[in-house]
């Protein structure tokens, strides 16, 4: 029994804080939405008592043994009927008007609103801050209206931030717009806390940053959850990202600058970062033989790829570039063409960094071009830099 409770982890039997009602009211909509909710709740409670009170009272009061007779033969009462038909209508009109008022406020963004382009795809988000600065997290400025222009690359998704009380479907073939104004800034964690989290992350060997575990972003901010609220397939429940509200323009600009370029980071290292941030990791593993959705990146570069068309190509720089920009051009045997294109999403330098990262994952990273020229099939014993005893297996996995 004790073990069973441990499997369940924090929860009913844990002692963590148990929130009951709503998340933080972190946008200008929240107070109005919660106020309307509270109003409806009181009206509902009133009618609930009005119905259930008499019902329970009558049940006890008029409970009789079998064979008892009703003591009233009244079967209709028009005044009563009209009263309980009309009185609820007044409450309904109030709810309707107040709800629509709040809704209309959410529809038209004010002039001069900062715009962020959002792309949703199975099963990740990319927020485009302009000038090639693209990141899965949504970073906005405190007390400034922000407009999201959202499109989907594949199926229906929905943008939902509970703390902002706002939701909007993202429909393929349409641009859906949502705007909001954040009112509570995300705290910045202390340097010690951030360092501890970064160290723990390095130690854990997790492929991606574990937000729930550290409760801060990789840059040390507290965050609000952003969920996909429209069912979109296998990893729908993992299609989450995080909203950070910056207090000052400078802080936000500094963050955008930080994510927008490679800077002095070596290409392979930056490629690894992109691999996680842009959610290549969602479908492509970097371990031998592990197929998530698409082929693994391990021992991909430099190897021959059997295609659905029956041809074979060597995975060189040009092949990888093409596969990123036009994923449906060359489909490897045994896989479905479901990867979205990253055209316009990744700069040349980003793609070069990703290729460098893939090279670092392949034991043919250095010698592929020579090997391809020599047209050898399984040469390259002595040169293996990465533990390379799994080439046949890896080739097999790729063919599956």
């Amino acid at each position: 029994m004790f073990n069973a409770l441990e499997i369940l982890g924090p929860g009913l039997f844990g002692d963590d804080a148990k929130a009951l009602w709503f998340p933080d009211q972190a946008s200008t909509y929240a107070a109005e939405s919660d106020g309307t909710y509270a109003m409806i709740l009181w009206v509902s409670a009133f009618f609930f008592v009005l119905v259930l009170g008499p019902m329970i009272y009558f049940t006890f009061k008029y409970h009789k043994p079998k064979g008892g007779k009703a003591t009233s033969r009244v079967r209709h009462h028009n005044l009563l009927e009209i009263t309980w038909s009309v009185v609820p209508c007044f409450f309904l009109v109030i709810m309707f008007v107040r709800g629509s008022w709040g809704y209309l406020d959410m529809q038209t963004p004010p002039e001069g609103t900062r715009q962020i382009d959002v792309e949703a795809y199975k099963w990740a988000w990319s927020m485009n801050y302009g000038n090639g600065a693209i990141h899965p997290e949504l970073h906005v400025l405190l007390n400034e209206p922000t407009k999201l222009v959202m499109r989907s690359k594949d199926v229906l998704h929905a943008f939902y931030v509970p703390a902002f009380r706002i939701k909007r479907d993202i429909v393929p073939g349409r641009y859906n717009i949502v705007w909001f104004q954040a009112t509570i800034p995300s705290e910045k964690a202390s340097d010690e806390e951030l360092d501890a989290a970064l160290a723990a992350h390095k130690e854990s060997g997790d492929a991606t940053w574990n937000y729930d575990k550290y409760q801060i972003t990789e840059d040390g901010y507290r965050y609000y959850d952003l969920f996909c609220a429209e069912y979109c397939g296998r990893d729908h429940s993992m299609m989450q990202t995080y909203v950070v509200v910056h207090e000052t323009q400078e802080d936000l600009d500094a963050w955008i600058k930080k994510i927008s370029s490679r800077g002095d980071t070596p290409p392979a290292e930056y490629g690894e970062k992109l691999y996680k941030l842009r959610n290549c990791v969602g479908c492509h593993s970097n371990e031998p033989n592990k197929v998530v959705v698409g082929p693994t990146f391990h021992n991909l570069y430099g190897y021959e790829r059997p295609l659905q068309s029956g041809q074979t190509v060597v995975a060189d720089e040009q092949y990888i570039r093409e596969s990123i920009l036009e994923p449906k051009a060359k489909i490897v045997q045994g896989y479905n063409p479901q990867m979205p294109s990253f055209k316009g999403q990744l700069s040349d330098d980003d793609i070069a960094s990703l290729i460098a990262y893939m090279k670092s994952l392949s034991d043919r990273g250095e010698t592929a071009s020579d090997a391809a020229q020599a047209n050898d099939s399984t040469a390259s014993e002595g040169e293996a830099e990465v533990a390379g005893d799994d080439q046949p297996a890896a080739a097999e996995a790729a063919a599956n």
Binding site: W21, A70, L156
Partner: protein, 577 residues
Amino acid sequence: MATGAVPAQSGGRDAGFVSDSENYLKNSSGLLSWIFTLDHKRIGVMYLVGILSSFLAGGLLAMGIRWHLMSPDGLLFSNDAYNQVFTLHGAIMVFLFIIPSIPAALGNFLVPVMLGAKDVAFPRLNLCSFYLWLGGAFFFVGALMMNGLDTGWTFYTPYSTSTDTSVVMATLGAFILGFSSIFTGLNFIVTINTMRPPGMTWFRMPLFLWATYATSIIQVLATPVLGITLLLLIAEKTMHIGIFDPEYNGDPVTFQHFFWFYSHPAVYIMILPAFGIISELISVHSHKGIFGYRFIAYSSIAIALLGFLVWGHHMFTSGMSQVTVIIFSALTFTVSVPSAIKVFNWVSTMYKGSISLTTPMCYALSFIFLFTIGGLTGLFLGTLSTDLHLHDTYFVVAHFHYVMMGGTMVAFLGGLFHWWPKMMGKMFNETGGRISAAIVFVGFNMAFLPQFLLGNQGMPRRYATYDPEFAWLHQLSSIGAFTLGIGLLTAGLVLLHSLFRGKQAPANPWGGATLEWHCTSPPPFYNFKHAPAVGDPYEFANVEYDSATDNYVFTDLPRELVPDEHEPAPASAGGQA
């Protein structure tokens, strides 16, 4: 066995007991006598078996879902498997259980008997609709066996046009089930219009018939739209005709309009017959005429009509124009008024009644509690500013479970217990029945109240895994769901037990006044020898309890207007001479 035994002591009329040679369950035997039967009662029983089997399957899937969600990372399934499980849970419960539950199983049995008729208008069509149901069910099972189904029961495009799972097979199944539903509806409309006995005017019909009539109208008018939608979906998926999939210049929102144009009225196909059952149950077990008969009858029709105008409230966040959204919000509020009228009338019926807390009454009271919560929480979703927060969260999940399960399923169980003696001729164990009602009530609230809180906090629906802060509410909900499962199992065992050990049911064990209580339990295969004379279906003054037989008998109404004149008794209403 004595036929037509009338208790001597009270001098009341009673249908007595049926002989084996006339009992509809026993008058012929063998598999073929069931497979080819045209008797609406046997078809009703076959539906009942099929529907309860589907309910068991859907319920086990629900238990799997709740077990899985005991932990944030999921205990049981991979994400893919979870998606298939919740899809099948929804699809089976909606298409195979709730929609046909009351109309097809109880309705088939009751509509002709309540009308004093020998059968429905088109007995062969009736059998045909049962086999269509069975065919549709096989397609669903087939889809499950082949590749599974992971679109959610709503089949939203473009996910449904791009997934590899058996969408075509499942939609064909739903298409066939649609025809089953249309045929049943058509049959009932014609039956009620043409086969009412002499004296049964529209406003002397039992309210269950009013509800069934309203339901049938929706079935006949709305279900063809579902058929068209599903055919278009199949055409889109196989031939890319370009209507729903943006890749071929279609629009996914169009699919949602088409789908909900059927599926919202379908919600009323599910709940209206439940209203009908509750009107009967509350009145009979309070031994008092239903309060506000005409308002309840008209509100059924009002719901059926208004129900066609509110489908857009499923799509408030999809990007419809602001005007459209606001109009749909307003229309949505209007449909809540007739539902409220019914609830008030039921409670008023209990006033100064003589309430017997039998098992059916316990379920009926439980229904009023649960449906009131389900209805009131709908207000939060009809109101636009709160819906933008609550849409597609667990708040919605809790809301429609309160309406569909706390409403329809609980009413179905209440009705099943109420008419079980009539259908099977056996009394069940009352204590066991009441205990099952209590466990179901407690388990249900424990399972679904926490889900409202989850929705408030922003937990989206259809999630295989979730953030750790939601864990405690999910675990509470799961424990409630298991309790609910035990309650339903108890109810099932009580009913099964009665088949083997139950004592023989008298003709009128609860004291009802509608026509089905005028014939034996179970009815003879011909229901009534002659069309019975019809009085007020809610007149209980002449229904007397006979403690010797634990039965209610009909006496003559006191004649107040002409006290001196001795009139002959009205023609016998019973089926037995």
